[in-house]
C-alpha cells in the first residue's frame, strides 16, 4: 500500500488508466454477474415457495370419475312381482326378457305368451331376467322427497342419520340435495380417479377423451374439495363425506383458551421486565431464560405438556377431579392442549410486549412520575395505553402460531378421528393441522385431495392473521 511518492509523469497516468481499464472492466463484469446470481437466488427461493402454493391449489379440484359401489335399483322401493297386474307383467316381459328366450316360451310352457296364467308370467320373469328383484324398482330420479328420506333412513346407520339430521334437517333439504345424499351415503358414490386442477384446465379435451375410453358410461364431473359442505360437516371415514367442523371448532377452542392463559401472564411478565426489573439480577436471568425458551423446539413443549398436564395433573385436565363423567384416556383434552400451547406462545408474547413497551417514549413516564403518579399508575395509565397496539400485534402473531403448531399437540394426544364437535374443555378433540397430518398420512391417495382443502383453510387463516399483524405494526412504526 505505502509507496514512495514521486512526481507522476504523463506516461504514468496513461499506464494506470490502461491497466485500470482492463481490470475494472473484468471487475465490473464479475460485479454484474454476482448481482445476477444474488437476484437469481432470491427469485429461486420465492419460486420454490410459489410452487408450494400452486401445488396445494393443484390438488384442490379437477375432473373426477365416479363409480357406485351399490346398484341404485337395489335400494329404491319396489313392488313384489306377484302383486302386478297382467298388463304390467306382459309389459315387463316385453321390455326385459331377451328375444331368444321369448321365442322358447310357447315350447317351454306349452302355450303362447298371451294365454299363460299370471303365475307363469311371474316365473318367466324370475327365470329369464338377470335381476328380477329390481324390475319394478323406480329409478332414483323418480322418487319423491319422502321416499328418498325413507331410503336414507333404511340404509345408513342410526348415528350417521342423526349426524345428517343435525347438519340440516332432511325435511328442509331440496329433492336434488336428497338425491345427492342418497348417492353419496347409500350408494357410496366415490371418486375412482381424479385429475389435478392444472391438468383439468389445460388438458381438458384429452381428459374427456380418456374418460370416454377408459371409463365408458361412468359419471364424471369437475369436483372441488373445498366446499361449504366440507367445512360444515362432521368427520367420517370416507373422503366424499368427511368434513372439517370438529377440527375447526377444536382449533378455535384451543387457540382461544391458550391466548386467554398466555396473554395476561405474558403481558405481566413483559411489564415486569421492562418497567420494574431494572438492571436486577433476577430480571437478567428471566430475560436470558425467555430468549432460550423461544428457541426450544415445539415438540419439547409437547413432552412437557405430556408429562405435566396429561400425566401428573390428569385428574384435573380430564375433569375427573370435578366429577366429569367418561373422561378421555391419558388426559387428552382440550384443556391439556391449551395449557401446553399457552406455554409455547408465552415467550413470543413476552418478547413482543417488551418491544412495545420499550417503544414508549421515556418522556411520558417522566411526566407522569413528576406529577406524583406511582410506578404502577404510570404504567397502567400512560405506558400501557400507548403500548397496547404493539401488544395486540404480538398477540395476533401468537394466535397464528398457536393455530398452526402441530407437533406438541401430536405429543399431548390430539385424537386423529373425532366425529363429534368438542363438548367443552374436558372433551377429546382434533385440530386443523392434526387433521391435515392425518389425511396426508392415510394410504388412500384421494385423501391428499381432502387434505389440500384443509391446507387452504389453514393457510388462508394463518396468513390473513399474520398480514393483519404486519400491517398493524407498520402503521405503528410510522406513527412513532
Amino acid at each position: 500500500m505505502a509507496r514512495s511518492i514521486t512526481e507522476p509523469t504523463p506516461q504514468d497516468f496513461s499506464a494506470v488508466e490502461l491497466r485500470g481499464d482492463a481490470s475494472v472492466r473484468r471487475r465490473q463484469v464479475i460485479a454484474r454477474t454476482g448481482r445476477g446470481v444474488l437476484f437469481f437466488s432470491l427469485v429461486l427461493g420465492l419460486v420454490a415457495l410459489l410452487t408450494l402454493f400452486l401445488n396445494v391449489f393443484d390438488k384442490l379440484g379437477g375432473y373426477a370419475v365416479y363409480a357406485f359401489k351399490i346398484d341404485p335399483l337395489t335400494i329404491t322401493p319396489s313392488r313384489p312381482l306377484e302383486e302386478l297386474s297382467r298388463e304390467e307383467l306382459l309389459a315387463l316381459i316385453e321390455k326385459h326378457v331377451p328375444e331368444d328366450a321369448k321365442a322358447l316360451i310357447p315350447e317351454e310352457y306349452g302355450a303362447p305368451l298371451e294365454e299363460l296364467s299370471n303365475e307363469d308370467l311371474v316365473n318367466i320373469l324370475y327365470n329369464d331376467t338377470p335381476s328380477p328383484e329390481t324390475l319394478t324398482a323406480k329409478p332414483l330420479e323418480a322418487l319423491t322427497r319422502e321416499e328418498l328420506i325413507e331410503v336414507l333412513q333404511r340404509n345408513v346407520t342410526g348415528t350417521r342419520f342423526e349426524q345428517l339430521q343435525a347438519e340440516r334437517p332432511l325435511e328442509q333439504r331440496t329433492r336434488e340435495e336428497l338425491i345427492e345424499l342418497v348417492e353419496v351415503e347409500v350408494l357410496q358414490r366415490s371418486v375412482v380417479w381424479q385429475w389435478t386442477l392444472f391438468e383439468s384446465i389445460f388438458n381438458r379435451d384429452a381428459i374427456l377423451a380418456e374418460i370416454a375410453s377408459r371409463y365408458p358410461g361412468s359419471d364424471y364431473e369437475f369436483k372441488w374439495w373445498l366446499t361449504p359442505r366440507f367445512i360444515a360437516s362432521d368427520q367420517t371415514t370416507r373422503p366424499e363425506t368427511t368434513g372439517l367442523r370438529p377440527a375447526l371448532l377444536g382449533s378455535l377452542l384451543v387457540v382461544i383458551l391458550s391466548i386467554l392463559f398466555a396473554v395476561p401472564i405474558g403481558v405481566a411478565a413483559g411489564i415486569y421486565l421492562e418497567e420494574f426489573a431494572g438492571k436486577s439480577r433476577l430480571g437478567a436471568i428471566i430475560q436470558t431464560n425467555i430468549y432460550n425458551l423461544a428457541g426450544v423446539p415445539s415438540i419439547i413443549y409437547g413432552m412437557l405438556g405430556l408429562a405435566v398436564f396429561a400425566r401428573a395433573l390428569r385428574d384435573f385436565t380430564t375433569g375427573a377431579a370435578f366429577g366429569v363423567p367418561n373422561p378421555p384416556p391419558n388426559g387428552r383434552t382440550i384443556i391439556t392442549a391449551s395449557l401446553t400451547m399457552a406455554l409455547l406462545i408465552l415467550p413470543l408474547i413476552i418478547v413482543n410486549t417488551q418491544e412495545a413497551i420499550r417503544a414508549v417514549p421515556q418522556a411520558l413516564r417522566d411526566a407522569a412520575l413528576a406529577v406524583g403518579a406511582t410506578k404502577w399508575e404510570t404504567v397502567w395509565h400512560h405506558v400501557l395505553p400507548v403500548a397496547a397496539p404493539g401488544i395486540l400485534t404480538g398477540t395476533i402473531l401468537a394466535t397464528a402460531r398457536a393455530l398452526g403448531e402441530t407437533a406438541p399437540l401430536i405429543v399431548v394426544g390430539a385424537a386423529a378421528y373425532v366425529t363429534m364437535d368438542p363438548q367443552g374443555i374436558f372433551s377429546s378433540y382434533t385440530v386443523l393441522p392434526i387433521q391435515i397430518y392425518t389425511w396426508t398420512k392415510l394410504p388412500e391417495q384421494i385423501f391428499t385431495r381432502v387434505a389440500s382443502a384443509a391446507v387452504v383453510v389453514l393457510l388462508v387463516t394463518v396468513l390473513a392473521i399474520n398480514l393483519t399483524a404486519i400491517i398493524l405494526r407498520n402503521r405503528l412504526r410510522k406513527q412513532i
Binding site: 415486569y272 413432552m303 405429543v411 397430518y437 389453514l458
Partner: protein
C-alpha cells in the same frame, strides 16, 4: 388519592409530614401488583425448570434400566425397543442428514437473498419483500410436510427412478425443510447486514470497489457474527423440526447414510410413538424422554452459541 393525603398531611401537620419518608411509602397495592408481575416473569423460569426436570427425571427412568448403558445408547446402531436395543445412532444420523440437506439448500439461498435485499434492492422493493419473508416464515410446518409428500417426493422419484428413491425418504424432507428455513436465514442475516454502518460501504465504494466487492469483502465480513448466528439458528430449527420429517422422512428407525432411503429422525420418532395409545409408564415412554433430553441439549447449546455470536456482534457497533 394517596398523593392528596400526603399533601394534606404536609399542610395540616408539618411535623408529622417531615417524619414521612418518601422512600418508604406504605403502598400495599403497588407491592401486590409488583409481586404479581414478578410472579408472571418467574413462571417462565418454571417452564424451563419444568422442561429440564421432566426430561431428566423420565430419562433417568430410561437410563437406570438394567438393559441400558450410556455407551450403548450412543454407539449401538439399532433402535428397537421391542428387542431391548436402544442405540440413538440411526435416529441421530437421520436428524443430521435431513438437517444437512436443509442447510445446503437454505444457507446459500437465504444468504444470497439477504445480501440482495440489504445491498441491492431499492427501499421500495425491500418494503414489499421483507413482509413477504415474514409471511412465509409463518406458514405452518404441516403445510410444508404436505408439500414434501405430495410434490417433492413424486418429483424426486420421477427424476431418479422409483427404485432408487423410497416413497418415504430423507432427501425430500430435507429439501423442503431447506425451503422452510430460507426465510429464517434471510431475515436474520438481513438484519445483521443492514446494521453494518453505512460509512463502511461508502468508504469501500469511494476507494473504487464494485458493489459486489463492497458486499462480499466489506459488508459480509463485518456482519459475520450475525450471519453465523442465523446459520446456527437454522441448524437448531432443523434439528427440532418435526412435522416435515414425520410426514415425509419415514416411519421407522433406519441406520443409513443414503438420503433416498427412509429413516426416522429423533423428533419424528418421538411424535410417532406418542401418537398411539402409549401407556404413561414403561420403557417406550421413558425412552422418548431420553431422546427429548438429547434433542433439548443439542438445540439449547446451539441457541446459546447463537446468542453469544449476536452479543459479540452487537458490541462491535
Amino acid at each position: 388519592m394517596a398523593e392528596l393525603s400526603v399533601a394534606e398531611l404536609q399542610t395540616k401537620a408539618p411535623s408529622r409530614a417531615r417524619r414521612l419518608s418518601l422512600r418508604r411509602r406504605a403502598r400495599p397495592g403497588e407491592a401486590v401488583i409488583r409481586t404479581i408481575l414478578l410472579g408472571s416473569g418467574v413462571l417462565s423460569i418454571f417452564t424451563t425448570v419444568g422442561i429440564i426436570v421432566v426430561l431428566v427425571s423420565d430419562a433417568l427412568g430410561f437410563f437406570l434400566h438394567p438393559g441400558v448403558t450410556l455407551v450403548k445408547f450412543f454407539t449401538d446402531t439399532v433402535w428397537a425397543p421391542e428387542f431391548g436395543r436402544y442405540g440413538i445412532l440411526p435416529l441421530a444420523t437421520a436428524t443430521l442428514i435431513t438437517s444437512l440437506i436443509a442447510l445446503i439448500i437454505a444457507v446459500p439461498l437465504g444468504l444470497s437473498a439477504a445480501i440482495f435485499l440489504s445491498e441491492y434492492a431499492s427501499p421500495r422493493a425491500r418494503g414489499y419483500l421483507k413482509p413477504i419473508l415474514e409471511l412465509l416464515a409463518a406458514i405452518p410446518t404441516v403445510v410444508y410436510g404436505y408439500f414434501a409428500v405430495t410434490f417433492m417426493t413424486p418429483l424426486l422419484r420421477s427424476i431418479f427412478g422409483a427404485d432408487v428413491v423410497d416413497f418415504y425418504n430423507m432427501a425430500s424432507a430435507g429439501i423442503v425443510m431447506g425451503f422452510m428455513i430460507i426465510p429464517l436465514v434471510a431475515s436474520v442475516s438481513e438484519d445483521a447486514l443492514a446494521s453494518v454502518p453505512r460509512a463502511l460501504r461508502e468508504a469501500a465504494l469511494g476507494l473504487g470497489a464494485t458493489p459486489l466487492e463492497t458486499s462480499l469483502r466489506v459488508v459480509v465480513p463485518a456482519a459475520t457474527s450475525g450471519i453465523a448466528a442465523s446459520i446456527i439458528l437454522a441448524i437448531s430449527r432443523a434439528f427440532g423440526e418435526t412435522m416435515i420429517v414425520l410426514l415425509a422422512a419415514g416411519a421407522g428407525p433406519n441406520f443409513t447414510l443414503n438420503p433416498f432411503k427412509a429413516a426416522e429422525t429423533i423428533t419424528g420418532h418421538i411424535a410417532r410413538i406418542s401418537t398411539g395409545d402409549i401407556s404413561h409408564e414403561g420403557m417406550d415412554f421413558y425412552s422418548l424422554f431420553a431422546l427429548g433430553l438429547v434433542l433439548f441439549i443439542m438445540t439449547l447449546t446451539l441457541n446459546l452459541i447463537s446468542r453469544w455470536f449476536v452479543k459479540r456482534f452487537r458490541e462491535v457497533y
